[in-house]
C-alpha cells in the first residue's frame, strides 16, 4: 500500500489534512473509474455486459458526489465557488468567474456560503 496522496511529510500534517488527502485520493479514483466505464461502454456490444457496466458507473457517480460534498463541507470558500458553478445554466466560464469574485469579496454574507463562520464538525481537530 502506498501513501502517494501526501506531498509533504505526513507526520507534519494535521489529522484534518490527512483525512482530506484520503478523500481527495478517493475522489480521484472515482473519477478514474467513471472514465474507465465510459470507455468500456463506448465499445461494449453485449447488452447484459453493458447493463452491468452502467450499474457500476452509477455507483461511481454516487461515490464521487459523496467525496466532493465531504470536501466542500470542509472548505466554505470552495463550497461558495462551487455553488456559483454547479447545477447552473448559462456559460460555465462566466459563472465560474462570477462565483470566484463573489467568494473573494465574501458577497454580502461573508466568507461562507451560508454566512456562517464555517466551523462545523471538529472531531478530526481533536
Amino acid at each position: 500500500m502506498g501513501f502517494d496522496q501526501y506531498h509533504e511529510p505526513p507526520e507534519e500534517l494535521s489529522q484534518e489534512t490527512r483525512t482530506m488527502a484520503r478523500m481527495f485520493a478517493s475522489m480521484t479514483e472515482e473519477a478514474e473509474a467513471i472514465n474507465w466505464y465510459e470507455q468500456r461502454l463506448a465499445i461494449e456490444q453485449d447488452p447484459d455486459a453493458r447493463k452491468i457496466i452502467e450499474d457500476a458507473r452509477h455507483e461511481e457517480y454516487k461515490h464521487f458526489a459523496m467525496d466532493f460534498e465531504f470536501l466542500l463541507r470542509k472548505r466554505p470558500e470552495w463550497r461558495a465557488i462551487a455553488q456559483g458553478v454547479i447545477f447552473r445554466s448559462g456559460d460555465i466560464t462566466e459563472n465560474a468567474d462570477a462565483a470566484e469574485e463573489g467568494a473573494e469579496v465574501g458577497g454580502d454574507e461573508g466568507g461562507s456560503s451560508d454566512g456562517s463562520l464555517g466551523i462545523g464538525d471538529l472531531r478530526s481537530a481533536s
Binding site: 451560508d114 456562517s116 463562520l117 466551523i119 462545523g120 471538529l122 472531531r123 481537530a125
Partner: protein
C-alpha cells in the same frame, strides 16, 4: 440576502472578514461537543425540527386512525454583542488593535451555551443532556490528582461493562482541565497516562461541570445543527453597531449508557 441581514450593517467587507475571523478564533477552542459527539449538518436556517421516527397517541375519527409524527424542534441560540463604530473605522484605516471585547464575551457565552446544552441539557430548548440521561451513577473524585487515572479507568470499565466500546473522550471543565494538565503522578504527567487509558481526546470544555467520559464510537450522541455559528446584524446608531452570534441546533442522546459523569474535586487533599 439571508436572515443575518449583514448587508444592512455599516461594516466594510474587510471589516466583516475581521469580525468573522475574531469570532471564529474565539469560539473554536471551546466547542467541546463538536469534538466529541456526532455532528450532523449544517442543515440550514430553514431546518425547524429533526424526525424522531415515532408517532404520538393514535386517535380515531370516522373509522380512520390519526397519528401525529413526533419531532424535536431546533433551538436558536443567540448571543448579542456590540462594536463601536469608531473601532470599525479604525480597522478600515489599518488599526491592528481593534476593541472586540464585547464580541469575545458573546463568543464565550455561546460556547458555554452549546456545551452545557449537550452535556447537561437545556430545559428551555427541550433538550436532555448527556449527564441527565446517563443511567450510570456519577463517580466522585477525591481531589488528589494522582487518583484521577484510576477513577477514569473505573469509568471506562463502567462503560465497557455496559457494552460500550471506545475510543472514549474525557471532557473536562476548565478547572478540571487545569488540574489534569498541570498535575503529575509519581513525577510523571497525568495527561498522557489518562489519554492512554481512554484511547481518545482530553477536551477542554467551558461550561461543563466536572468531567464527562463518553464513547466516540459514533451513533450514541447526535448534535444536529441547522444554521451553523454565524454573526448577524441587528441594528446600529451613530456610535455602535449591534450584532449577534447565532446558531440553531438540537441534540439527542441515543445511547444513554455510553457516558458517565465524574464529579471532580478541585481542592487537593
Amino acid at each position: 440576502m439571508s436572515h443575518l441581514l449583514r448587508a444592512h450593517a455599516p461594516i466594510t467587507e474587510a471589516g466583516w472578514q475581521d469580525i468573522d475571523d475574531e469570532a471564529r478564533a474565539r469560539v473554536t477552542p471551546g466547542l467541546a461537543a463538536r469534538r466529541t459527539v456526532d455532528f450532523r449538518g449544517p442543515h440550514g436556517w430553514e431546518k425547524s425540527a429533526v424526525s424522531l421516527g415515532r408517532v404520538g397517541d393514535r386517535d380515531s375519527e370516522n373509522g380512520v386512525e390519526i397519528a401525529t409524527r413526533l419531532v424535536q424542534p431546533m433551538a436558536e441560540l443567540r448571543a448579542p454583542f456590540s462594536v463601536d463604530v469608531a473601532e470599525l473605522r479604525a480597522f478600515d484605516r489599518g488599526a491592528e488593535d481593534v476593541d472586540y471585547d464585547d464580541l469575545d464575551r458573546a463568543a464565550r457565552s455561546i460556547v458555554i451555551a452549546e456545551n452545557t446544552t449537550v452535556f447537561h441539557g437545556n430545559a428551555a430548548a427541550g433538550i436532555t443532556g448527556i449527564t441527565e440521561a446517563t443511567p450510570h451513577d456519577p463517580l466522585s473524585h477525591d481531589g488528589r490528582p494522582e487518583t484521577l487515572p484510576s477513577l477514569v479507568a473505573s469509568a471506562v470499565d463502567d462503560l465497557m461493562r455496559a457494552g460500550v466500546q471506545g475510543p472514549f473522550a474525557l471532557v473536562l471543565s476548565a478547572d478540571a482541565w487545569i488540574l489534569v494538565s498541570g498535575a503529575s503522578e509519581h513525577g510523571f504527567p497525568l495527561r498522557p497516562h489518562i489519554a492512554q487509558i481512554i484511547e481518545g481526546p482530553i477536551v477542554w470544555a467551558p461550561g461543563v461541570s466536572g468531567a464527562v467520559l463518553l464513547s466516540m464510537r459514533g451513533g450514541d450522541f447526535l448534535l444536529d445543527v441547522g444554521q451553523d455559528l454565524a454573526v448577524g446584524y441587528l441594528t446600529h446608531d451613530i456610535e455602535q453597531v449591534d450584532l449577534y452570534l447565532e446558531e440553531s441546533l438540537t441534540f439527542r442522546v441515543v445511547s444513554p449508557e455510553a457516558a458517565v459523569a465524574i464529579d471532580v474535586a478541585l481542592s487537593s487533599a
